[in-house]
């Protein structure tokens, strides 16, 4: 029995409604294996590759480079070599005739964020993927000034075979803003409370930047709740941190002031679009954010020095360390701080490596946590 | 219709545009009496006068707030030779002097009655100049003891009947008492009360704080009166006809066991301490000295004095004459002055 598979515009994150085709990574006639990258698509100026879910031959490139298509639109067709062109053309014709782009409301009807109260703090989180027997869930923890959308290109891909949670830390995203928290341990206490509240006995933790420091602090506080740690450009593994970035982030009040600050995060400065800056400004202008960030930065990164070194907290847990080679916020040299850890420094990448090199990071994590 | 005398009857009307505007609007709940209503009262009084056969009515002029309305209401042309009321030809400066001037002028013009619209103060000014011409005293407000609240049409009728002689003075006119005050060479009068206060300034004139009242002299005091005389009225009512008046010596309520509640201003009932009181007999002089303060005449502070001042108060039984509206019209009824039949000559 031969099969025909459609490749469609993916939905990365909650807000994505359309994507732009950058380029095809496979030519018509190429043999495709599951997991291979077929086409590069861009959303919110972040580009990512659509991976094959199946094996076959790329038979059609329906979408053309620079085309902007709604989520779910047909990009190409993979089929076994023996499927006739007529059948494939018929399928393409029928698909295009029947395809209705999702309305904004339907788009909203996708996975919804939820909130939970932990010790007087309201936390927003997003759970993707189903609880599976024997599968230890994964908890994603963003960095300073970030939120659960920092995992836009990681969250869904990692949720194929397990439940994956991403939360907004206190002071961030849509969680309670001014909680007075000024230490990694206090953040860890909230995270542990969160795990209890949503019924996570034990999880793989993945943390980015300050979120990595939080993962380490959770491990120190409640080792029984931690199965493994994936630390991406993590805090807590050395003294240095770009104090200019931290202070600039806290102080920036306008687009023009914010842009050069945010550009330090990325290897490709063009990724810092106006709408990204606008979104960050919207966050920063929420009541309590400035106070929260000021307290947190003073507690954790005063004077461009990290106040906590937590490499020893891992106490024998499996650890994966990922870093961007050209990280301008926390130097990649910190990657070797944990003896025995699996370390991967991605060449050419910056601090937001999980966004800029999402599929590579996803693969590393996937294979690390199994 | 009554009384045809050889010369035409002249009646004057005096209305004070400034009455009813003093500080008692603030310190009590005294009414603001609109000048438009005063003008309307004049028009109604004229109707009564004309019905009683008076053809020559003299009206006090003012800056226009009353006279202008009267002028329009009666459709006057400004031609002073035409029939109808005339405005006295005199300078107007908007002060109490206008009232004095108008009174003198009307009396010289032969008025045999004056209708006065105002409060105690206005009547006091008229009384100082009107001699033996009887007054028909009409109150324009809630704050007066001397003039009465009554409908101006009826008042005009009564004034006309007395002025023309149709009702004889013995039937319609009453003698009032007067208080004469002299202080360091200044002489003045009061129709209802003289109040010696501790307040050092004439200031905004009205007296409303009983704590400042030291001596009170009254010509008459109704138990149902309003104003300072009401204090006396609750101690020993004195009628307008009685020969005597009353002298009350006040004290702070805390300093005397004798206290009285009195309506001393509209909306203001106060407790007044009384040291003692005595009848004030005609012509007996009461002398006060050794203090400083102000003397209020008919409720308004007029004279400041000091410790060296010599104050004399005495009751004069020969004050102004006033027309008793009820008695006049009762006489008219008894004598059928206003009755007639179809076919009677006008």
């Amino acid at each position: 029995m031969s099969a025909i598979f459609t490749v469609t515009m993916p939905k990365w994150g909650l807000s994505m409604q359309e994507g732009k085709v950058n380029l095809w990574l496979k030519e018509v006639g190429d043999t495709i294996n599951p997991g291979e990258e077929i086409i590069e698509v861009e959303s919110e100026k972040i580009s990512g590759a659509v991976e094959a879910a199946t094996s076959g031959v790329l038979r059609r490139q329906v979408a053309q480079p620079d085309e902007v298509l709604p989520v779910g639109a047909l990009l190409g067709v993979i089929a076994d070599a023996d499927v006739s062109d007529e059948l494939i053309d018929d399928l393409v014709t029928r698909f295009q005739a029947e395809f209705v782009p999702p309305t904004e409301d339907e788009a909203d009807a996708g996975p919804q964020t939820q909130t939970v109260q932990v010790g007087g703090v309201q936390l927003r989180y997003l759970k993707l993927g189903a609880d599976a027997a024997g599968a230890v869930p994964l908890l994603l923890i963003h960095g300073f000034g970030g939120d659960l959308n920092n995992w836009l290109f990681n969250h869904e891909p990692l949720s194929a075979s397990r439940a994956v949670y991403a939360l907004d830390l206190p002071g961030h995203g849509s969680s309670t803003k001014d909680t007075g928290i000024a230490s990694l341990d206090a953040l860890a206490e909230v995270v542990v409370g969160f795990m209890d509240a949503v019924g996570i006995e034990c999880a793989h933790l993945a943390g980015h930047s300050m979120g990595g420091g939080v993962c380490l602090a959770v491990t120190r506080r409640a080792p029984q709740k931690v199965k493994s740690l994936s630390l991406i450009a993590s805090a807590g593994l050395g003294a240095e941190i770009n104090g200019g970035y931290i202070d600039g982030f806290v102080a920036a009040a306008s687009r023009n002031a914010f842009k050069p600050v945010l550009q330090q995060l990325y290897s490709d400065a063009d990724l810092v679009t106006r709408s990204m800056i606008d979104d960050m400004l919207k966050y920063k202008r929420l009541e309590g954010v400035e106070a929260a960030l000021t307290k947190l930065s003073a507690g954790l990164f005063a004077g461009g020095v990290q106040s906590e070194q937590l490499a020893s907290a891992v106490s024998g847990k499996p650890v994966l360390v990922i870093w961007g080679e050209h990280d301008r916020i926390i130097p990649a040299s910190h990657a070797s701080a944990i003896p025995g850890a699996t370390v991967k420094v991605l060449p050419g990448q910056g601090h937001m490596v999980q966004l800029e090199a999402a599929s590579e990071v996803n693969k590393l994590i996937e294979s690390f946590i199994g | 219709m009554p009384a045809k005398s050889s010369r035409p009857t002249v009646v004057g009307i005096i209305a004070n545009p400034a009455s009813g505007r003093d500080i008692r609007r603030l310190t009590s709940r005294a009414s603001v009496f609109p000048n438009a209503e005063k003008a309307s009262m004049i028009v109604r009084a004229i109707a009564g006068l004309e019905a009683a056969g008076v053809r020559d009515v003299l009206v006090m002029p003012d800056n226009g707030s009353i006279s202008g309305i009267v002028f329009r209401a009666l459709g006057l042309s400004g031609d002073q030779t035409a029939a109808g009321p005339r405005f006295v030809d005199m300078p107007v400066d908007g002060s109490a002097a206008d009232t004095l001037r108008a009174t003198e002028h009307m009396c010289e013009a032969g008025a045999t009655a004056l209708i006065v619209l105002g409060g105690d103060g206005t009547h006091r000014a008229v009384a100082a100049r009107c001699g033996k011409v009887p007054l028909l005293a009409l109150s324009t407000g809630t704050n007066n003891a001397f003039p009465e609240m009554r409908e101006a049409t009826v008042a005009g009728l009564a004034a006309g009947l007395v002025a023309s002689g149709a009702v004889p003075p013995a039937a319609g006119v009453r003698q009032n008492k007067l208080l004469r005050v002299s202080c360091d060479g200044r002489d003045d009068i009061a129709l209802v009360d003289v109040c010696v206060t501790a307040h050092p300034y004439v200031g905004s004139r009205a007296v409303w704080d009983c704590a400042q009242v030291e001596d009170l002299f009254v010509t008459f005091a109704g138990a149902d009166g309003i104003g300072l005389s009401a204090i006396a009225g609750q101690l020993e009512p004195v009628s307008r006809a009685a020969l005597h008046g009353l002298h009350v010596r006040c004290a702070l309520p805390a300093q005397t066991p004798r206290r009285v509640l009195a309506a001393i201003a509209p909306g203001l009932v106060a407790e007044v301490g009384v040291r003692d009181y005595s009848r004030l007999m005609p012509h007996v002089r009461t002398v006060l000295t050794g203090r400083s303060g102000t003397i209020a005449l008919d409720g308004e502070r007029e004279i400041e004095f000091d410790a060296a001042s010599h104050i004399e108060v005495r009751l004069d039984p020969h004050g102004p004459l006033t027309i008793d509206v009820a008695a006049t019209l009762t006489y008219a009824a008894q004598h059928r002055l206003l009755r007639g039949y179809i076919g009677d000559a006008a």
């Binding site: 964020t113 909130t115 927003r124 849509s174 803003k177 009040a253 306008s254 687009r255 679009t273 106006r274 709408s275 606008d278 919207k282 202008r285 929420l286 009541e287 309590g288 | -």
Partner: protein
């Protein structure tokens, strides 16, 4: 946490949150409670369109119905602002500025300068504006340009629920007199609005969408018309950059200038009349500052120089439409 609410709810929420945060904030205006002294409910209306509904009960004594007496209560709001309150006076329809303008432009606007910097007048005057409701000539005007002309005033024209809330909160916290104008047609517009309090600063234009071909500057309701026009133009391969100044005083000239220098083409969309309007003002400023960058004459899409008509057929002609915006964009795009 962001959720969808209407423009009207966003304004109500901004007032509510600021009144809770700062006891010196009061709301006054004709029928802002709606029922003072009447035998029925004290807050029957909550504003003529219900924008202030519910505030009366939540903030006792601080939502004040006024007589229909615009000079009186707008002036009182100004005076109260001089004496430590942060009043939000609702003028109902901006057309009513005619009966209280002195208190706004001769008093509130000038105090600080006339008094040598010693006065602070944190008053907000809210009013609805704009055509489209068959409300005719005295209840439909767009008069923000008149206020923009006056030094000492700030003028705010939110085009969506998010901006409405953030700009109103900024207006209330601002220490200068602010004219806050709400388009009637936007009250029912829904959008994502965070539950938390937040501010949108003045003088920061929003780049509603980016594009390299033509710059469209639009404000208030016209932003949404510009978006409609841009969506249609996109199908024709024309990428419009839409800039919403959000505040006309202060005006973010940098963002407009930067955009026009890149696109070389400018269309200004303004619901008010063409003479001495924001359209002519922005056009003049760009002609002066970016003449060399212009590849085509600037186009203004405005209402005509006539009062707002009543009849639907005329009013629809009066209001600038997406079609007219599209036409203007094509004109600047095709200019050779």
């Amino acid at each position: 946490m962001a959720r969808k609410i209407t423009y009207q709810q966003a304004i109500n929420e901004a007032l509510d949150q600021e009144m809770s945060r700062d006891p010196s904030v009061i709301v006054m205006g004709e029928d802002v409670a709606g029922g003072a002294g009447a035998p029925g409910d004290d807050d029957a209306w909550g504003g003529v369109l219900g924008v202030t509904k519910g505030l009366y009960a939540k903030h006792p004594g601080r939502v004040l119905d006024t007589p229909i007496s615009e000079s009186g209560y707008v002036g009182a709001a100004v005076g109260a602002a001089c004496n430590g309150l942060r009043p939000v006076a609702e003028l109902m329809f901006i057309d009513f500025m005619g009966v209280c303008f002195d208190q706004i432009f001769n008093q509130a606007a000038k105090f600080r300068y006339m008094f040598g910097g010693k006065a602070k007048t944190p008053v907000v005057i809210r009013a609805m504006y704009g055509a489209g409701f068959r409300a005719a000539a005295q209840h439909s005007q767009c008069l923000y340009n008149i206020f923009t002309h006056i030094p000492g005033l700030k003028v705010v024209i939110p085009s969506n629920p998010y901006d409405a809330k953030g700009l109103l909160i900024q207006s209330i916290r601002d220490n200068d007199p602010v004219i806050f104008l709400e388009h009637k047609a936007l009250y029912t517009m829904e959008g994502d609005v965070p539950e938390e309090s937040y501010v949108v600063p003045f003088g920061e234009a929003a780049v509603v969408q980016e594009g390299d071909d033509v710059t469209i500057v639009a404000m208030g309701r016209m932003v949404n018309y510009a978006k409609d026009a841009a969506a249609s133009l996109r199908k024709r391969g024309i990428q419009c950059e839409i800039i919403d100044p959000r505040t006309t005083s202060p005006l973010d000239t940098d963002t407009i200038l930067e955009s026009v220098e890149r696109t070389g083409r400018l269309v200004v969309v303004d619901e008010s009349h063409p003479r001495c309007s924001m359209a002519s003002d922005i056009s003049g400023f760009i002609a002066q500052e970016a003449f060399g960058a212009l590849k085509a004459p600037i186009q203004m899409v405005t209402a005509p120089h006539v009062p707002v008509p009543f009849a639907a057929s005329l009013e629809e002609l009066y209001i600038p439409s997406p079609a007219r915006i599209e036409e203007a964009v094509m004109k600047v795009k095709e200019y050779r």
